[in-house]
Structure formats: C-alpha cells, structure tokens
Amino acid sequence: MASATANAPPSLSLPPSQFARLQPHAYLLAHLSPPPASNQPSIRANGRAPSQFRVTSANAGSLTHTNGSAVVRIGDTAAVCGVRAEILHTDDIASWSVSESSTAASTAKHQHLADLSDHPTKENKDVDQDSDAADDEDRAHVQGLNLLVPNLSLSTGCAPGFTPGAPPSALAQSLSHQILSLLHSTRLVRADDLRIWYQPPNLGPEDIEPHNEDEQMDVDADQSGSAENRQPREIKAFWVLYIDVMIISLAGNPFDAAWASVLAALRDTKLPKAWWDVDNEMVLCSDDLTQAYGLSLRGLPVASSFCVFEADAAAGWRAVVIPDAGEQKKGSQSRWILADPDGYEEGLGQERACVVVDKDNDGKGKTVIVKMEKHGGWTVDSADLRQLVDISAKRWDDMKRILDQC
C-alpha cells in the first residue's frame, strides 16, 4: 500500500483503493516494479511475492450425506466438494456382455486379488502398480462407463457475473471438463475400488468366500451348478462416484481450489462393503463403518495455476502515470509470472499456465509432471516453464501437508 501512494504523483490524490480500481494495471505494476531508489522489494498488490500462493486450508468429512466431502479455501476462493456413490448394475449397461466381466476375472492377478478381496486397498498398491493390462482395463471401466461424474457449479452467487439458475456458464463447463479429464489422465481412482463382484458359490467344503459369511445365504437355495471347483467371479455392479463441486466464493483461480477439494474429498471417501445378493437380485451394502473401505488413489496430483502479468501492455499508461518510466524500462523486468492469481490479477493478464505435478514415493521420489497447460500468450518460454515446475513441486509439499492434516 505504501508503495502505491509513493508512486502516484501528488497531483492525483486518490486513496490506494480507488486508484486500484481506476488504474488496475498501473497499480499492480507500481507494486511489482518499485522505483530502485525506494529499495522496496517487488511485491504484488495483495502483499504476496510473485511465486507465493495464498493461505490454503482444507477440511474434510464435515458433510453428513456424502461418502466423502471436503471444503478447501485458497485465500478468498472457497470450494465445497461432496462425493456421493451410487450403484450401477451391469444389467443397466447396454453394452455390457458377460465375456467382458469374465475377462476381468480371468486374469491371474485378479483371481489372486479375489482371494484377498477383503482388503483390496492394501494389496492393490503393490500388485497393479505396473500392470499395463490392468491399466487398460481400468480405463475401459472408469472412463468408458462414466464411473466418475464430476460437476462444478458456479451458480451459487459466488461472484456477481454468474446468474443463479441459469445453465452452467462456459467457465463452469470448462472447469468440469478439466476436472474430468484430469481424473481420467491421472487415473486417480482405481477401477478395482469401484467394482462389486459376485462369486457364485461352490458347494465344496473349502468355500470360505469372505462375503458369504455376511450374506447368510442359504446354500440350498442356490442350485446353480458348480461343476468346476471354482466358478469365475463376475462383476455385478460398479460404484459410480458423483463428484459435485460448489464454488461458494470465487476470488480467482477456481481450478486449483476445485481440484484440491476433489482430491481431499476422494481421499475422505469411504465406500460401504457391497455384495450381490442372489435372493433379492440386487446389490446390498453393509452400513458397518469398520467394513467400509477408503479409495486407494494413485498418487496425489496437485495443481498450481499461474497468470502472466505484462508491463508492456501498460506502456501508454506508464507514460502518464509514472513520468520517469523511460529510464526505468531498461533493465527492469517486463513481465511477472504470478502464482495463484486472485480475481484482481486474473483480470489483468491473458496468459495462463497450469502445472499439475505429483511426486513418487510419498514426496521423496522424483517430480512427475502430470499435466502442463499454457495458453493465452507467448511470453512464457521453456526456461520459465521449468521454473514453474519447480514452484509447483514446492507447492506439492505444502498441499500434501495441508491435505494430510485435514
């Protein structure tokens, strides 16, 4: 604030807040490039350093009617995410064929898993970390059957521009699709967590299928032949995760907040133990919390968004507002990459970048770029992008800490 008043010529005696509104670009520029004489650090109008993110907080599991939920606040942007799981019967899938379900069952790996199906979460991590076949199958199921349904709503009065009750705005639609494609490309949710299996009982004495105990199934009632020793398992249903994000307050950078809330909510999600009940021909669930299992997510991709602020675009204004601009121009920075832009800053730059990174081995391994996106301009070069990845990697550590705490 102090630097703003110092830069504004005395003839223009406006309070900083009004100056910020009338000349947003010059205001921000004055903050970022203080006169060398003043010995002030280059700082954004909101008091942050260019690569500094806003204070972030997350809180999970506070909503009653969800399988998993989270509230994430990044500065003044707040997103609420609720995950609701519903059941998709394979009978309701038009393109579903029995062979499809049995191929899934026939792979040795899965057969192995079946035996351990009481604790799929623990086992999965080691077992199918590498398997390409499983990956393809994951994709076919999660993506092909639309098992993840993220929707983001901005019609919550979060900002003046969005009329409530109107169909989703272009921004909301694009954010929903970004979340969806990121969910798919990171393969965050394992299809195995979403499958509900049925193991036809065999009449042998070694029938110790774990879910049969709970089912209390009358063995006599089921006469379906069991010539072989072990019937192939079949998929009877899937869990469909409805991931709904409500942006409650919008002050720039909705994607980071929305993605963080989705991530936190998915980490919080607990699915009830479910099995196919032959008598009722439907999937039944246990409401026992000890039998419910969490999702074993693949990694922890963290999104960091950036916005580019250019000084050149303001050349005309600078001549008026900062008379000694001509001398300053040489050697002074002409553009800044601002991390986690707020609403004010987003309005001043066209060029955006978004980097999603993950780290192997719980943060100790190497940094993996999951997604990198840049559009709206051409000032950011490869060196800059490299730097952004470094910043994002740092952000990953922060976000991991925050998400682990919630």
């Binding site: 009632a221 008598d279 009722n280 021909e281 439907m282």
Partner: protein, 397 residues
C-alpha cells in the same frame, strides 16, 4: 422476465395511481363497514357459475366461472399403480412388496410387519397436481407456488375418525391393497389470463372436481391383483357422499370433504374475503388459508396457512404536498420559512404516514391480525362453512 418477477407477488399489480390506491385503502379500512368497490360485504364472494362432471373422459371434473369471465377447468384422472415404497434412498422395504422375495415369503415376519405402515397409510406423492396458467411457464414461481399450496393441504388432510372409508384421509383412500394403489392426476387449467390472484378459483374448482370424482368399484378382494367393476353406475365416490334422498345437514357436516383454500386479506382492521385484484393491491396482509371438514371433528379444521406477498409492497408511493416540488414552489412564494421547515421534518422522519397519501405497505402483520383472519374463517357458521356448504349444493350427476 418482468412477468416472472411479478409472478410471486399476489398477481400483477394493477396500474392504479397512488391517489386511487389511497382512496381504495381508505374506503376499505372504514371501521366496521368497509365499502368495497363492487358493493359486496366483507365476507361475500363474487357470483360464480359452477358445474361438475363436464368431461366424460375423466374420473371427475368441474368448471367454475367468475362473473368477470375467468374460468377454470379441473380434471381428475385416476390410475392403478403398483406400490413401490422405495421412495427413500434407504428404504428397501418396498422391494419386498415389489418382488415377493423368497426371504419375505419364507416368513420373515419382522420385515413383513415393518413394511406395512407405508402401504396402508398411503403416500403423498400419489397425488400429482399440475396447474396451467396462460402466460406462465409451468416452472414459473406462481404455478409452482399454487400447486404446492393446493397439494399440501390435499395430502395433508388426515382425518382422525372420518368413518371407515376415509381413515387416513385422501392418501389412505388411494390404497387398494398392500401392493396396489391409485394414483391421482389433478390437472388444473385456467382458461384466461388471471385477472385476480387465481387461488380461490382454482381451489374451489379442484374441490368440486374431487367431490365429483368416482373410482370404479373393486371386485377383487384382499391382496389379489385388483379387478374392477366396469359398471360406472356402481362406481364409488372418492369422497363418500350421503345418499341422494337424505339431505340432512347433520350427515353432510360429518363427512370428510376435500379442503378449500381461501384467500383472505386484511386492510387496517377489516378482514375481507375473495378480494379482487384492486383490493389485493392495497392489502396489508394476504393469507391463503386451507380448511377442510373432517368427520370426527365438529366444525372446520385448519390445514395450512401461507402468507402471500402483498403486491401493495410494490406500488408506487404518492408524494405529499409538503414534498411536492410544484407545491413547494407555490408555498415558497407564500411563506419561505414554513415550507422549508415542513420539508425538513418530512425528510427526517422519512416514512411518516400522511393521511390521504399512499405509501406502499411495509413490514409484516401483527399476530393479532393473523389470528383474527384465521378465526373469521374457522368460526362456526363462518365463511369457511358457508363456502363448503355452497359447493356441496352444486348438483353432482
């Protein structure tokens, strides 16, 4: 957009000038004997023509027309439907009813008993209501609000002891057996643009249509799949009626009748029924009060009250002489200081009432006012009973 905005308010505000509004308000607020523009008394309804059973393709129907030309037609259709009570996410009991699962058949008594309650007492969603008002989309605020209001009192009307037939009210009446029930479609059509708040018209017409509604006589018994008598003459009224011969008032007053929703306004100390559009425009408070007669209870039973946004809040204020620029110019020429003083006072107090100058109504209604409005409806021999009797008198057949 404009229509949608005004929709929630108690109908389009008529274009009356502040002076006209003020005149109307003053005459309606006269103590004891308010003067209504059409000369009616406070409890008098506008003349209307009514007929029932006008649509042969329905189970029951009615048409009511007001003298001003607005008409409403209501058709009631009933369909037999399988009972599935899985309306609730967690309620799996309906599944038993639906598919007679081996577990239930095997004699899981506990489950069998548990599932009974919903099937016996019926479900509110079995009554479906749609209201069509020309000039409004069916998801506009007005039709939605009206249909929720009418449906709420209809399915809410649970009678304590209205005889064997009507135990459980309308919802209970729709139950055929544990596995089957009637679904009632009530379609309400307003035939012209509403000239006043259409609620009383729609409610009366719905009432009449339901009174004339007949359901075919059930031939099957118990838990069998339902089979009906195709003789229309043998069909039974949805709301049982007394035998044609006996018109003793005692029997009618003990019968369960569908609810009616009355529109009541208060102007100053007066309570006025069946207001016209102009009268609503100056009302202090507007209430929609649903009442019904149920068997065991002597007199009328209150089913629901809803406030309706009085359009008087949206009217244009009049300008008192003391604030009027033209008048001020005159006043200044006469006496500078006096006029200046008067304006200052008025600016300071802001909402001071100046008699004869219209001010849009503000605030809500006192509890005493609301209580009086309800009392006038419910009173023995009061307006509510009068309306119900009047509707009973409409020839059905």
């Amino acid at each position: 957009m404009a229509a949608q905005r005004q929709a929630s308010s108690a109908s389009q505000t008529p274009h009356l000038s502040p002076a006209e509004l003020s005149y109307l308000y003053t005459s309606l607020s006269l103590p004891k004997t308010p003067i209504r523009p059409d000369g009616r008394s406070t409890t008098q309804f506008r003349p209307l023509t009514a007929e029932s059973n006008i649509l042969p393709g329905t189970n029951g129907s009615a048409r009511i027309g007001f003298a001003d030309g607005t008409q409403a037609v209501v058709g009631v259709k009933a369909e037999v439907e399988k009972t599935t009570v899985a309306a609730d996410t967690l309620d799996a009991r309906g599944l038993f009813q639906q598919q007679e699962s081996p577990a239930a058949a095997a004699g899981d008594r506990e489950a069998q008993e548990g599932l009974g309650s919903a099937a016996v007492s019926g479900h509110g969603s079995w009554v479906q209501m749609s209201i069509e008002i020309p000039g409004f989309r069916d998801d506009d605020a007005l039709p939605v609000f009206l249909s929720e209001m009418l449906r709420e009192s209809l399915v809410g009307a649970v009678s304590g002891s209205g005889g064997e037939d009507m135990a459980g009210g309308l919802k209970g009446r729709l139950v055929i057996n544990k596995r089957w029930h009637w679904r009632l479609y009530i379609d309400v059509l307003l035939l012209s643009q509403p000239l006043s708040y259409p609620l009383p018209l729609l409610s009366l017409t719905t009432h009449l249509a339901l009174l004339s509604t007949k359901l075919p006589k059930l031939k099957s018994q118990g838990e069998e799949d339902p089979l009906f008598d195709d003789d229309w003459a043998a069909a039974q009224y949805l709301y049982p009626r007394s035998a044609p011969g006996s018109t003793a008032p005692v029997t009618t007053s003990q019968q369960v009748r569908p609810p009616v929703t009355l529109l009541v306004i208060s102007v100053a100390d007066n309570v006025i029924f069946d207001p016209t559009r102009e009268e609503i425009a100056v009302a202090d408070a507007v209430l929609a009060i649903s009442v019904a007669r149920d068997g065991g209870h002597d007199g009328l039973k209150l089913l629901s009250i809803r406030t309706i946004d009085p359009p008087s809040r949206l009217t244009q204020p009049g300008v008192p002489n003391s604030e009027n620029v033209n008048m001020l110019a005159n006043a200044t020429s006469v006496d500078d200081s006096a006029a200046g003083g008067a304006t200052a006072v008025n600016l300071a107090t802001g909402d001071e009432e100046v008699s004869g100058v219209w001010r849009p109504r503000r605030g809500g209604a006192k509890r005493s006012v609301l209580a009086r409005m309800v009392k006038t409806v419910l009173r023995k021999g009061g307006v509510g009973e009068e309306v119900l009797e009047g509707l009973e008198g409409v020839e059905v057949e």
